[in-house]
């Protein structure tokens, strides 16, 4: 059964005669970030978090440095080594056209990572800024933006993307990024707007305003530091969703055209009935990569959320 809340929380009365605790107002003025620094609360963010972060950084590095790494060319078809399992020469084996899987995965990850991070970053800037302003100052602009974002979100994103793609050929990384941004921005807008709204009514904002703080200062110094954790947590999940979205598109052959293959493309290749039975490695390695990447992202997002979520803190 659950734990009883701390003894402090049990007593909630305050009579004039007995209660002489000062500074309730002082407590209201403190914003909710831990005063003693980012990593001191509850034992810090945890080993898991840092491992995941390290893993993601490692993956990004691999992708960035792909061309200078000592791996084979991803599209080089070596017909003498078709469907070979993992060997010393080909660490992850080769596919049905003799291409080295390790380098295919690394080069493919470039596309997937860009598709994952770029739209989210762009969406954070656009949607985030809009959300911050809309949440802080609810005016006609806010209502309009809210309605627009709702409609944009109601419409199945995948559908819109598929439709646009078939008409806006050829599909390039840039075009995909733009389309994904159109999906990410409204989502991030709503999340950040909601978070901003919930903070705007808190006492520390009111107090800051009462002491004459300028809006820009308020937004930057008071609200933003409190919103960033929630936003980052959500953004990480957004990256995961974007990567999966790209994979689903690739599944339909609607992702980046050849010769640049994304991981989704490779998986798509690998799951047609021939390859799945003959050489499951083709589908396995990129799937594993995506699996690990998504797990790392999700774990990080979850840890961030629970670290900064005051409601879960118990004495």
């Amino acid at each position: 059964m659950p734990e009883l809340p701390s003894y402090v929380a049990l007593e909630s009365e305050s009579t004039l005669a007995l209660d002489s605790t000062p500074g309730m107002g002082v407590q209201a003025l403190q914003s909710r970030l831990p005063a003693s620094g980012l990593f001191s609360r509850k034992g810090g963010l945890g080993l898991t978090f840092w491992i995941c972060l390290g893993w993601v950084v490692f993956m990004i590095l691999l992708a960035v440095l792909a061309s200078v790494l000592p791996i084979k060319a991803p599209n080089f078809q070596d017909y003498s080594a078709v469907n070979v399992g993992p060997t010393a020469r080909h660490l992850l084996g080769t596919d049905d056209l003799g291409r080295d899987l390790l380098s295919r995965v690394i080069f493919g990850s470039r596309v997937s990572l860009v598709i994952g991070f770029a739209p989210i970053l762009a969406g954070l800037v656009i949607g985030g800024a809009a959300g911050l302003l809309a949440g802080y100052r609810s005016g006609p602009a806010d209502t309009v933006l809210n309605a627009v974002s709702f409609v944009l979100l109601a419409f199945p994103a995948l559908l819109a993307i598929m439709v646009i793609e078939t008409f806006w050929k050829p599909v390039s990384l840039f075009k995909l990024t733009v389309m994904f941004t159109f999906v990410a921005a409204p989502l991030l807008f709503r999340v950040i707007r909601a978070t901003t709204l919930s903070f705007s009514s808190r006492e520390f904002v009111v107090a800051a305003r009462a002491t004459g703080a300028k809006t820009s200062r308020l937004l930057l110094r008071e609200l933003l530091p409190n919103i960033v954790p929630a936003a980052v947590s959500f953004a990480l999940i957004g990256v995961a969703i974007a990567i999966v979205l790209e994979g689903s598109l690739a599944f339909l052959g609607l992702s980046i055209g050849l010769p640049t293959s994304s991981l989704g493309n490779i998986i798509n290749d690998g799951v047609n009935s021939n390859n799945l039975t003959l050489n499951p490695f083709i589908a396995l390695w990129p799937s594993l990569y995506i699996f690990l990447l998504l797990t790392a992202l999700n774990l990080m997002a979850d840890r961030l959320r629970s670290y900064f979520d005051l409601r879960e803190v118990t004495l």
Binding site: E3, S6, Y7, E13, A17, S20, L315
Partner: protein
């Protein structure tokens, strides 16, 4: 009978045939392991309660009184709780019982009235069911009998139109009615011991009186033992047989009610009594609050726990904690320089002369400069 579980069989002696006290608590300790250390919420409390008697437990926030009532029942859950001591109820040792056995006791033999009925009642379950579920599952009544009993209970606690009330949700009732419902639920299965945890806090003053009267009526009707936990001395003044004053997890004074008011010994109790505003005083009379705050129960406490705020404090108090000593009939207190004694008066005079802030506040000397802050660093209100 109950289709939800098989129950251990415990026997409890009948109404009038109890020998010895109904409840005996011997050196109860309840501590919580937290990130800040071990918080000793209840630090060695002993009490005895006879059938049909009422004990008032008085203390401020953080004194441990709520944890006490739950700990007596064994209701404090959690993996970070350490409990020691003995609680003997009607011949059985509650502290040695398993959870299943305790569940037999809860509701049927011992009942707890919670402080805030808005949070203690399930907001999405109808009031009627919250009353009848214990009747059906614990007392084995069938649906019809349970409903009739519930109606009778609601009537006995003074709720008009009880049949309609059964179908209401908690938020559809007023504060006073909710608390009456809570009392009805508590006494539904005829417990022998009632623990009332701040039953009147948050209610209007007029309603408070009604609720307390109701509790007293139920108690005498059912010949229950009752422990009334509160921070408000006014609540216990005329309605209890004995009073126990708690501070920082310890009992600091314990006496029959009349004796406590007539011959207060512990300075904390005295301060509590003085802090009650009286109608007879002129308006704008300054409230005599007790400056400072209760100590941090996770810290290593040395000496008397009330020392930082006590007007009578001396060096000895800070060094050594006074033990509970007897002063006449069933009167225990914990103080080196008790109120009304020669040593106590001398100590107070000495403190006033040396301008100890707590003593000055006690005697009503107004605070004039910012340097007069209480020892634990908090300004005098």
């Amino acid at each position: 009978m109950s289709r939800w579980s098989r129950r251990p069989q415990l026997s409890f002696p009948d109404v009038g045939s109890i020998e010895g006290p109904l409840l005996e608590v011997i050196d109860l300790h309840t501590s919580f392991r937290t990130g800040r250390g071990l918080v000793r919420a209840v630090d060695g409390v002993s009490l005895t309660l006879g059938r049909g008697r009422t004990l008032g437990v008085v203390g401020e926030s953080g004194s441990g009184k709520t944890v006490l009532s739950r700990s007596i029942m064994g209701l404090v859950p959690g993996s970070n709780v350490e409990r020691s001591g003995v609680v003997r109820f009607s011949g059985h040792d509650l502290t040695a019982m398993s959870l299943a056995e305790l569940r037999e006791v809860w509701g049927m033999q011992v009942a707890l009235v919670f402080q805030d009925p808005m949070t203690a009642l399930n907001p999405v379950v109808r009031v009627g069911r919250q009353i009848t579920e214990s009747l059906r599952l614990r007392a084995g009544l069938d649906r019809k009998a349970a409903r009739e009993t519930a109606v009778a209970l609601l009537k006995s606690v003074g709720i008009p139109a009880p049949e309609q009330r059964l179908r209401n949700y908690p938020h559809e009732l007023s504060g006073g009615m909710r608390q009456r419902v809570m009392i009805a639920i508590a006494v539904a299965c005829g417990p022998k011991l009632l623990l009332a945890d701040e039953p009147t806090t948050g209610l209007d003053v007029t309603v408070q009186a009604q609720i307390l009267d109701l509790l007293a009526a139920q108690q005498s009707e059912r010949h229950m033992g009752m422990i009334l936990v509160t921070h408000d001395l006014g609540v216990v003044a005329n309605r209890t047989d004995d009073i126990m004053v708690m501070y920082a997890g310890r009992v600091v004074e314990q006496a029959p009610t009349a004796e406590l008011f007539a011959h207060t010994r512990m300075p904390y109790t005295e301060a509590l009594m003085r802090s009650i505003p009286r109608l007879a005083e002129a308006s704008h009379t300054r409230l005599r609050a007790i400056p400072g705050r209760p100590p941090d129960l996770a810290a290593d406490l040395r000496g008397c726990r009330f020392a930082p705020r006590c007007p009578y404090v001396q060096e000895h108090c800070r060094k050594e904690e006074p033990p509970l000593r007897a002063a006449g009939q069933g009167h225990l207190f914990r103080c080196w320089y008790p109120v009304g004694s020669a040593e106590g008066d001398a100590a107070l005079a000495y403190n006033v002369a040396s301008r100890l802030p707590a003593a000055l506040a006690f005697t009503g000397t107004p605070v004039r400069d910012a340097a007069m802050v209480a020892p634990n660093g908090v300004g005098i209100t």
